[in-house]
C-alpha cells in the first residue's frame, strides 16, 4: 500500500537550530525513504532524535542526517527510535471490557465483521481483540486488519509470540477486561516464550500502511487506533481521522487511547461519544 503525501500538510516554522536541522532531516528521510515523519509532534520527536544521536554517536542532527541518508541499513535501525513501540495485551482493561460488553454485541448484528487496528505495533491489541471476539463466537466471521509502519513490529505481531515474563500482567488485565476463561487457554509456553494460538491467525491480515501517506483500503465496522495520534501534530491527526471516517460504516465505532481525544479535531462533529472517559466514539449516521 503506497500513496502520495498530502500537500495540505504544512509544518510550523522552526525556531531553534535543532528544529531547523530536524526539519531538514525529516525532509531528507521523506525524499529518500518515503517515510513521512514531517507532521509528527515536534515536542515528542526531539527527545527521540536526541536519543538516536546519542546512540549513533552524532553531536548534531545534521550529523545524524548525513549518516541516515547514506546508509539504508542504519535508517531501519533509526526507525526504532522514531516510533514508540510500547504496548500491552488488554491495555487499559476497562476499555476492552466496554468493547466486549457494548461494541461487540452491536458488531454481532453484521453478517461479517471487519476491524482495523491502525498502529498495531507488536500486535498485543490485535490478539486481545481476537480473544474477545472468540469468546462471543464472533471470530469465525471476523477479519482484523492490523497495520503499522514498523516492519519489525509487524513481524512480531504476526508471530503472536511474547516473552513469558509479560504474561502475568497480560492475564491480570485479561480478567479485568472481563475475559471468560483463562488466558493460558490461548497460548502454549515454549521456553521463555508464550506462543498464541495459530488458529486465530487466520482471521488477521497484517500490512504495512502509513496513516501519513496511505489511503483507505477497506470498509470496516470498528477502528481501534490507540496511542498513535498523540505522536502526530494536529494536521496529521486530522488526516488519520479522515481516513477512519471514510473507512467506517455508518454508526461504525472508533476507539482511541486514554490520553487522546476528538475534542480539538476538525472531525469532532462527525462522531458521537459512546463513552467519553474510555474514548470510544461512534460515527454519526
Amino acid at each position: 500500500m503506497c500513496g502520495r503525501p498530502d500537500q495540505s500538510l504544512a509544518t510550523a516554522v522552526p525556531v531553534s537550530d535543532f528544529d531547523i536541522q530536524l526539519h531538514l532531516l525529516l525532509e531528507g528521510v521523506f525524499l529518500k525513504y518515503q517515510h513521512d515523519f514531517r507532521n509528527y509532534s515536534r515536542s515528542s520527536l526531539r527527545r527521540r532524535v536526541q536519543q538516536a544521536m546519542d546512540h549513533f554517536g552524532c553531536t548534531t542532527v545534521s550529523g545524524l542526517q548525513d549518516k541516515v541518508l547514506n546508509d539504508a541499513e542504519l535508517f531501519s535501525r533509526m526507525l526504532q527510535f522514531f516510533t514508540v513501540q510500547h504496548s500491552e495485551m488488554f491495555r487499559d482493561p476497562q476499555h476492552f471490557r466496554l468493547l466486549a460488553e457494548e461494541v461487540l454485541p452491536m458488531l454481532a448484528t453484521y453478517p461479517s465483521i471487519k476491524i482495523w487496528v491502525a498502529g498495531c505495533s507488536n500486535g498485543e491489541e490485535v490478539w486481545s481483540l481476537a480473544i474477545l471476539l472468540h469468546e462471543q463466537n464472533l471470530l469465525e466471521r471476523s477479519v482484523i486488519y492490523a497495520t503499522d509502519i514498523n516492519a519489525q513490529a509487524l513481524r512480531t505481531a504476526e508471530s503472536g509470540i511474547y516473552a513469558s515474563n509479560r504474561i502475568a500482567q497480560f492475564s491480570t488485565s485479561y480478567l479485568e477486561a472481563g475475559g471468560r476463561r483463562s488466558l493460558s487457554d490461548y497460548y502454549h509456553a515454549a521456553y521463555d516464550k508464550a506462543v498464541f494460538d495459530r488458529s486465530m491467525r487466520r482471521h488477521m491480515v497484517f500490512a504495512d500502511h502509513s496513516l501519513a501517506t496511505d489511503n483507505v483500503f477497506s470498509e470496516v465496522h470498528l477502528v481501534s487506533c490507540r496511542n498513535v495520534l498523540i505522536y502526530f501534530d494536529r494536521r496529521l491527526q486530522d488526516r488519520a481521522l479522515r481516513l477512519f471516517r471514510e473507512s467506517l460504516v455508518p454508526r461504525g465505532y472508533l476507539s482511541l487511547g486514554s490520553k487522546e481525544s476528538l475534542a480539538f479535531s476538525a472531525h469532532v462533529d462527525a462522531f458521537a461519544p459512546l463513552h467519553t472517559e474510555q474514548r470510544i466514539y461512534q460515527l454519526r449516521a
Partner: protein, 199 residues
C-alpha cells in the same frame, strides 16, 4: 520581558502553597497562557486544577492533547503523563505523551521547559518553585540557551529549596526571587503593554 509569550512553571514538594500565593495575584485577564507541571502521584485523579481554581481568578484546566493555548488559562499536566507545547503557526497547543519518565519524573518539568524553549525562544519565562528533585534544571538551561529567562523561588521562602537551588546552580543567569517579587514583575509587564496587546 515585553517579548514574553508564555510562562511555564515547575513545582514539586511544597509547591501547591507556592502556586496559590503566586497565581492568586494574577487577574483573569492575564495576557499570557501558563503551563504548569506539578509532580503528583500517577494513579490518582488530580484535584490540582480545582484546588487552584478555588483560590484564583485565572482559569485552570487539566490539559488535553492538542488543546489550543489561550491567554488567562493555566494548563496543568495530567497525572502520569508528560505535557509539552507544540507550536502551530502563530498559535500553539498542548501535546501529551506517555513516554517513560525522564529523570524519574512523569510529568517531567524538563520536557515542558525544553518544548517551550524550542517553540518560543525568547518568549519563554520558566519559573521553578518549591520541590525536592532537580527536575527542571536541565530544561531551564535550554530555555536560557534559546534566549528565554528563568526565575527560581528564593531559598529562604521555598518549603523545599532543592529544586529552585538546582535551577540556580545550573543556570548562572537564573534570578532568585521571592514570590511577591515575581507577582510584581508579572503585573508590571502587563501594565507596560501597549493597550492593543492587553485587549
Amino acid at each position: 520581558m515585553e517579548r514574553l509569550k508564555i510562562v511555564v512553571i515547575g513545582a514539586s514538594a511544597g509547591g501547591v502553597d507556592a502556586l496559590i500565593t503566586l497565581l492568586r495575584e494574577l487577574p483573569a485577564s492575564f495576557h499570557l497562557p501558563i503551563m504548569l507541571v506539578l509532580h503528583v502521584p500517577p494513579d490518582q485523579p488530580s484535584l490540582l486544577s480545582q484546588v487552584l481554581a478555588f483560590h484564583c481568578e485565572l482559569q485552570f484546566v487539566e490539559a488535553q492533547d492538542k488543546q489550543p493555548l489561550q491567554a488567562g488559562w493555566v494548563y496543568c499536566a495530567p497525572p502520569g503523563c508528560h505535557m509539552m507545547v507544540e507550536p502551530d503557526g502563530q498559535d500553539a497547543y498542548v501535546s501529551l505523551n506517555v513516554d517513560p519518565p525522564v529523570n524519574l519524573s512523569r510529568p517531567s518539568i524538563d520536557l515542558l521547559f525544553e518544548s517551550a524553549a524550542h517553540a518560543y525562544g525568547q518568549g519563554v519565562l520558566a519559573v521553578m518553585l518549591s520541590g525536592a528533585s532537580d527536575d527542571g534544571a536541565a530544561g531551564m538551561r535550554t530555555v536560557f540557551a534559546l534566549g528565554g529567562q528563568g526565575w527560581a523561588q528564593a531559598a529562604d521562602e521555598a518549603a523545599v529549596a532543592t529544586m529552585p537551588q538546582a535551577a540556580l546552580a545550573h543556570n548562572p543567569r537564573c534570578k532568585e526571587m521571592p514570590l511577591r517579587g515575581m507577582v510584581a514583575q508579572l503585573l508590571a509587564v502587563r501594565q507596560a503593554m501597549p493597550l492593543e496587546m492587553t485587549a
